[in-house]
């Protein structure tokens, strides 16, 4: 029974996206394994991949645990971006097309095409904004699809400002107990799947609001320019440390739009406020939400992110492992239970669950 059915690489290749972030729920959940799998499978499909890291990847030794880590090999023709200071002799294998910006500690960022298969350490730029610029540069240079390897549990690369789509890597490292892990993952998937506000007028005003770099309220029935809704910016650039102050200014607002971080403290305050009067919280995108639990208040974003798939790593860094098939099954079921039919894959064992996932048929 040779596996020929749809797998993660097919999902990515057929989705039409130009860039994908591989982010992890924790350390050692198999981000780089997933990336290497995609590099090899997408290249085999004839796609030119672009490779970049949002932190540091492919180094021989884990900077933290001192254990060996999987290295990154760029196949011939792939586009890569990494810092000069970690490039070393790999530079001779690259056709260099740009030297730009500054990573900081490790020198300038070098962009090039692998003239032969090149083993690399990837070091990326220091901020998500610069990462977005770099992704676009690699696409301009000729990459068909850019793979962004996230670092640790950092989510910033998943922002729609940076990449088109996201693959969420998770594993036993998040929690050894399968049920607990599935529950935690369910919350993260819920968070990353936050949609736009269902009311069009509010959703479109919210998009304008996040450009203002000010916290804004949206009110209904005030006969403003945008249909039935009006935007009211207030003089606060952030909610951090002034959560209650801001909500005291809510009036009869239907929604509050936060351009920066939405903290748990703000969500707590919003929830008690919403007990008196319905108030939705709208964040710029899901990576700007710092909730540790379901907030008990309507939570939306102005730019939803496209969660393509979840990958699982049944093995922890200590070598303890779950049964991959069982793990895929439990996680997939847990996600379906909360209404998110996201395909789940273990790229090493080949186990997968695409049950109930619509649009998976290959044309």
């Amino acid at each position: 029974m040779i596996e020929t059915a749809l797998h993660l690489a097919d999902v990515v290749a057929h989705s039409g996206i130009r860039s994908v972030a591989i982010v992890g729920t924790a350390k050692n959940v198999g981000k780089t394994v997933t990336m290497n799998y995609l590099v090899s499978e997408l290249s085999a499909k004839g796609l030119t991949v672009g490779l970049v890291s949002s932190g540091r990847d492919g180094e021989a030794i884990d900077a933290f645990t001192g254990r060996p880590k999987p290295s990154v090999v760029a196949p011939q023709g792939a586009w890569v971006a990494t810092a000069e200071g970690v490039l070393g002799e790999a530079a001779a294998g690259l056709e260099i097309a740009d030297v730009s910006g500054h990573q900081g500690l490790f020198g300038r960022l070098v962009l090039g095409r692998a003239a032969e298969p090149v083993a690399l350490e990837l070091v990326g730029p220091r901020s998500a904004r610069e990462l977005g610029v770099l992704v676009n540069k690699l696409l301009d240079l000729g990459a068909d699809i850019v793979l962004v390897d996230g670092a640790l549990d950092r989510m910033a690369a998943a922002s729609p400002k940076v990449t088109d789509a996201t693959i969420l890597a998770t594993g036993a490292s998040l929690d050894m107990d399968l049920e607990t892990m599935a529950q935690q993952l369910g919350f993260i998937v819920w968070l990353l799947s936050r949609p736009e506000h269902p009311v069009k007028g509010i959703a479109s005003l919210a998009k304008q609001a996040v450009e203002k770099d000010r916290v804004c309220f949206i009110h209904a029935g005030r006969g403003g320019m945008q249909g039935r809704y009006t935007l009211r910016p207030i003089n606060y650039p952030t909610v951090l440390g002034v959560e209650d102050e801001i909500l005291e200014r809510a009036g009869d607002a239907a929604a509050v739009v936060v351009p920066g971080a939405v903290s748990q403290a703000f969500l707590d305050s919003a929830r008690s406020w919403a007990k008196q009067r319905e108030l939705a919280v709208i964040a710029s995108d899901a990576v700007g939400i710092f909730a540790s639990k379901r907030p008990g208040v309507s939570l939306y974003v102005t730019r939803p992110l496209n969660l393509l798939a979840v990958t699982v790593n049944p093995v922890t860094s200590l070598g303890i492992s779950h049964d991959p098939r069982e793990m895929v099954r439990v996680i997939s079921a847990a996600l379906r239970d909360i209404g998110y039919a996201v395909p789940v894959f273990d790229v090493v064992s080949g186990e997968k669950s695409t049950e109930g996932v619509s649009g998976m048929a290959v044309g």
């Binding site: 290497n36 030297v99 790229v347």
Partner: protein, 566 residues
């Protein structure tokens, strides 16, 4: 000095002229210059005779391409129309070295064209690699067929422990090595065949050989490039000059700036003597702003300039670009500064928040820009070069000194430069001390300049002391201040309370919630007007205080104290 500054403005005007004729070409040029990577480090490595890295070589290839494209564009307008120092010499020979056979986007790769032996090594290595892959693929297919399990993209094969027969079979296969197992699965990796192992050894040797040959190419290439060093440096320098010139032109266009008319100090006659002012007048290379440059005694302007025929410094419609941006960003309208100064000392008065300090800094900025060879953000400017500009630092705090002490210590700087022509901008000197003594001190300071300055300095002093100008007999300018309808303190609706008071139901305000500042910005007339004997004195301090939200009871008391209207 006036002459070389004049030349700089000529060059800038020439660039602006070319720009007007062919804006697209300029946009393209700026784009090319933006894509330029700093070549200075690569150049210094060449000078030291070091081997350049591929990244540094790319930077040089990029420089060559930029030079080629810039020269092409300069050719289109006629290369002779460009200031000589902004035309880079061609770098074709270096470019050929760096990118054999490429004329497109700059790239650098140690291509096979550099070395036949390197090409051969690479060919062989690639060939052996393919053989290795074929060998392993054959092995993989055999295993996959035999076991019916797919080897994943990560090169591993997982077999379930429940499939006992399959597992036994896998364990017996010499092609597979067991790597690890979990509760449910055993993981295998494909072992290389004997041929593959031999190929791996060969490949390692070939890789080392290839790296050595590549390093050799880099060494040779760096040596050859060193021979082109002088022309590479000259080109880099010229692109720098061009970048500077175009940036200045762009700034001038963006701020709609004007070429200042430069006159000889003290010789201003208001009839376009600018050209005459360019007659060789030695001032040394110290430029207007560098300290310690004495003025040539032979060209000191005549004393008693109060009676000189025309203004020394004329600014019409001048604006401060940073303040302008700030005003625009809050949606306000900006009122430009116009002023004509014909006395050693002039006094500006006006309400708090009335833009006195902005007026001062606008004058300082315009003069500084003009002396730096930048077009000036105004409609018209006429002035003579200064040896220094002093801007009394206002509210700045120096540790260990009171603001008054800091002010006095700072004031010693311009005073120590008597004999030099200074633009001395003073912002409410003495505000931090006893008002009557403060005023006396300010008057004395200005009187001192009137009596002692022989270099033709220009001193502009802002103050709240209204009689100061009259006491000294110098020109007095004032900020118009709050529009008259806003002055009805008691009847006026006045500024709304700020956002701090919360948002009241029923209000339709959708703009950025401001505070009293918004109201002030809207009603303040920042225009400077020259004060004659009959000009009324505005009293807006109390309105400003009210606008900023001071308790109304206090304002009422203040009105009584001031005896307004009675």
């Amino acid at each position: 000095m006036e002459q070389s500054l004049g030349h700089e403005f000529d060059r800038l005007e020439a660039a602006l002229g070319l720009w007007r004729k062919n804006p697209d070409l300029f946009t393209e040029m700026l784009g090319i210059l933006e894509s330029l990577k700093d070549p200075l480090h690569a150049i210094s490595l060449l000078q030291e005779g070091q081997v350049l890295s591929p990244a540094e070589l790319f930077i040089l290839a990029n420089l060559c391409a930029c030079v080629r494209r810039i020269r092409h564009l300069q050719d289109q307008t006629g290369i002779s129309k460009w200031p000589a120092n902004t035309v880079p010499p061609g770098l074709e020979p270096a470019e050929v070295l760096l990118a054999p056979g490429s004329q497109g986007q700059p790239r650098f790769y140690i291509s096979d064209a550099y070395s036949a032996s390197l090409a051969e090594t690479r060919r062989l290595r690639k060939h052996k690699q393919e053989m290795w892959h074929r060998e392993m693929a054959k092995q993989a297919r055999a295993v996959e067929t035999a076991l019916g399990v797919r080897i994943s993209g990560t090169g591993e094969m997982a077999i379930r422990k429940t499939g006992r027969a399959q597992l036994e079979k896998a364990r017996l296969m010499p092609e597979l090595g067991e790597t690890r197992q979990t509760l449910s699965h055993v993981y295998f990796k494909l072992k290389p065949t004997r041929d593959a192992v031999n190929l791996e050894t060969e490949l390692n040797l070939l890789k080392a050989k290839q790296r050595a040959q590549e390093t050799e190419v880099l060494r040779e290439l760096s040596g050859k490039l060193k021979q082109h060093l002088p022309v590479v440096e000259a080109a880099s320098q010229a692109l720098g000059e061009l970048d500077f010139l175009l940036s200045k032109a762009e700034l001038a266009r963006a701020t709609d700036a004007t070429r200042p008319e430069i006159i000889r100090p003290g010789a201003g006659d208001g009839s376009g003597s600018g050209k005459a002012g360019l007659s060789a007048k030695h001032r040394g290379p110290g430029e207007g702003l560098s300290p310690g440059k004495g003025m040539d005694s032979g060209i000191q302007p005549e004393p008693g300039r109060n009676s000189s025929p025309g203004p020394d410094l004329i600014l019409q419609g001048a604006f401060h670009p940073i303040v302008l941006n700030e005003v625009k960003s809050r949606g306000g309208t900006y009122q430009p500064v116009s002023i004509e100064l014909d006395s050693i000392v002039s006094v500006i008065t006006g309400p708090n928040m009335g833009g006195k300090t902005v007026a001062l800094s606008t004058v300082g900025l315009c003069v500084a820009m003009a002396q730096w060879g930048l077009m000036v953000p105004c409609n018209y400017m006429k002035f003579g070069l200064y040896d220094f500009i002093y801007f009394q630092p206002g509210e700045e705090q120096t540790p260990g000194l009171s603001s008054f002490a800091a002010e006095i210590v700072s004031l010693k700087q311009p005073l120590a430069r008597a004999g030099e022509r200074g633009l001395v901008l003073l912002d409410e000197v003495g505000r931090g001390t006893n008002p009557s003594q403060g005023r006396a001190l300010y008057a004395a300071l200005l009187q001192y300049y009137l009596e002692n300055d022989t270099a033709g300095s220009t001193v502009i002093a802002t103050t709240h002391y209204h009689g100061l100008a009259a006491t000294l007999g110098v020109p007095h300018w004032q900020v118009r201040g709050l529009a008259t309808e806003a002055l009805g303190l008691k009847d006026s609706k006045g500024p709304e309370a700020g956002e701090g008071a919360g948002w009241s139901e029923g209000s339709e305000r959708t703009e950025l919630a401001g505070d009293g500042l918004d109201w002030l910005y809207r009603h303040m007339d920042y225009t400077l007007q020259k004060v004659g004997p009959d000009t009324p004195t505005p009293q807006d301090a109390l309105v400003v205080a009210k606008a900023l939200g001071l308790d109304a009871a206090i304002i009422d008391k203040a009105l009584k104290f001031h005896g307004r209207g009675g």
